[in-house]
């Protein structure tokens, strides 16, 4: 056996290759307008949105409300707050899957609660790790993910799409039921981040639920505070916090794009505005009034 056959695996070395890196020869990605950004979101779209602390695109939320296309099916990853509240209150969302909806420390989200109790919103109650796992199933290209817990809760009992099966690795003669969660694939994932580069790489820091959502979604659209020159992947010290462009469909610039929610270390949640909202939204009329001001810019970041 000579050296050539021994080294006949060259093209396999790629798989976990050499120094372990991967060069991207990327498509250049031109930033788009907010209206173009949200174009993939249509009636019936399964739309993944992040929790309030993870980078919420309130700028795109405003654009969605202005455009007025309804019938959205929202998936909170795994909770939501003001964003789901506004989309529901504005009548754009027919369905919501979430582990919780709340306005930060102010607690319940009034328009969400009203839509649930009136029956206007199809609510799919879940629990945080079940949502993460269902997205991970799609991330891994498997049809389901097993998860502990859940069994016997009313959360599980109200999810006919979840299956209870036996763990095939349980010792013979013993029972070990476990829930299989079907893979969830959002049509679109939408979030806000601090920055993107011109290749479409997006800085997300430690907010890796955004990575999982982007891996799982068919399309990922992002608003950012700024588009920066150079590649976000160039410096190893910070590259770990980047969502690579291969998962990113489009990027739009939106300053203060999370307001009145906060964004990473850049700005904190505007507690006073959230409190004003919570107070106003106790009634439908109050909600409409606040929303009108939010839409026309009378309510905006200071």
């Amino acid at each position: 056996m000579d050296a050539r056959i021994k080294s006949g695996h060259d093209s396999l070395l790629v798989l976990m290759g050499g120094r372990g890196g991967t060069s991207a020869y990327d498509l250049a990605m031109k930033p788009v307008s907010l209206d173009d950004l949200i174009a993939p979101i249509q009636h019936g779209t399964l739309l993944a949105i992040p929790p309030d602390y993870s980078g919420v695109s309130m700028a795109a939320t405003r654009a969605l409300i202005r455009r007025g296309v309804g019938g959205l099916r929202l998936v909170a990853v795994p909770t939501s707050g003001l964003q789901a509240e506004l989309l529901i209150g504005a009548g754009l969302a027919d369905e919501l899957e979430a582990a919780a909806v709340l306005l930060g420390e102010l607690g319940p989200a009034p328009r969400f609660a009203a839509a649930v109790t009136s029956g206007r919103l199809r609510m799919k109650d879940t629990t945080c790790p079940a949502l993460h796992a269902a997205l991970q199933a799609t991330e891994k290209g498997v049809p389901f993910m097993p998860l502990r817990g859940l069994i016997g809760s009313d959360v599980q009992k109200n999810r006919p799409d979840w299956k209870i099966a036996e763990n095939p690795f349980a010792p013979e003669g013993t029972r070990d039921p476990i829930v299989f969660l079907p893979a969830m694939q959002p049509d679109v994932a939408l979030f806000h981040a601090t920055k993107a580069d011109r290749d479409g790489n997006v800085w997300i820091g430690r907010r890796r639920e955004l990575v999982t959502a982007a891996h799982a979604a068919k399309q990922t659209i992002v608003t950012v505070e700024e588009i920066v020159d150079g590649s976000l992947l160039a410096d190893e010290a910070t590259a770990a916090g980047v969502l690579p462009s291969i998962y990113v469909s489009a990027v739009a610039e939106a300053k203060q794009g999370a307001w009145p929610l906060g964004l990473q270390d850049l700005y904190t949640v505007d507690d006073a505005e959230i409190a004003r909202y919570a107070e106003a939204a106790r009634t439908e009329a109050g909600f409409r009034d606040w929303l009108a001001q939010f839409m026309d810019g009378r309510r905006a970041a200071a």
């Binding site: 607690g107 609660a113 109790t117 629990t127 945080c128 016997g152 809760s153 070990d176 430690r206 990575v211």
Partner: protein
């Protein structure tokens, strides 16, 4: 909540954390947080994860990490509450009325339908102790107190601390057992305010306050530590001015 009441509840929770190596405490949880910090101050082998602060964020794997971490058996104690809690330790965080046509909506189950199963020592903490919270049967089981024997369940309720008393949870009996009543309360006053049946320990006494040295530790070092995450709570309770919550 006045300072004496807060210190008493901290004493209760602190005692329940004895022997825990890793304690996770959520945000909006200043009393469990203070209790865990006190436990840690006295036992250098205790590690504490306090959620809700960006500063010193200890997780780097996104929203799933807390749940994965708990599933790995790395978290010994955690806190849950409930809009309703029943005598079998079931908790309801979803709403009142016949689901899905509920009449009042709470925020949602969060991670309870998972963590309640996998964290060995879940301490239920709910200050309001009235018949509408402590109910015979919850309207929606966000997470059940116990599970069928074939269900993998290393975790579950350990105790319930309220504004009136401390219950231990007996997994075999699927019932709470009254362990101590706070000053001013009695077995009867607890029973009158509890919608579910419960057992009563043979030696129910008054809930004991912190020992003087622990109290000094709480008012000193711990007050400073908790202020990092809960400045208003710390100021109100330990800043010299007792204030209603």
């Amino acid at each position: 909540m006045d300072r004496a009441r807060a210190e008493l509840l901290i004493a209760c929770v602190n005692r329940l954390l004895e022997g825990c190596r890793t304690i996770a405490v959520g945000n909006s949880s200043p009393i469990p947080g203070s209790a865990a910090l006190l436990r840690r101050a006295k036992d250098p082998d205790t590690r504490m994860l306090m959620l809700g602060s960006r500063k010193h964020n200890a997780f780097t794997d996104g929203g799933r990490e807390l749940f994965d971490c708990a599933a790995q058996g790395r978290i010994d104690a955690f806190f849950l509450g409930g809009g309703q809690i029943d005598g079998h330790g079931n908790i309801n965080l979803v709403g009142l009325g016949p689901y899905p046509r509920i009449t009042h909506r709470f925020p949602g189950s969060f991670g309870s339908a998972f963590l309640y199963y996998v964290v060995p020592r879940v301490i239920l903490f709910r200050e309001e102790h009235t018949p509408r919270v402590m109910v015979p049967q919850v309207d929606f089981v966000s997470a059940p107190g116990t599970s069928a024997p074939e269900v993998h369940r290393p975790g579950g309720p350990h105790a319930l601390v309220t504004g009136r008393c401390v219950f231990a949870f007996d997994k075999a009996k699927r019932r709470f057992r009254l362990e101590s009543v706070h000053p001013g309360e009695s077995v009867d006053s607890v029973r009158a305010n509890t919608g579910f049946e419960f057992d009563v320990a043979a030696n129910v006494g008054e809930t004991q306050p912190l020992a003087p040295d622990d109290l000094a530790l709480l008012r000193g070092r711990i007050a400073g530590e908790i202020a990092e995450t809960y400045p208003r709570f710390a100021r109100a309770l330990f800043g010299g001015q007792a204030a209603a919550e």
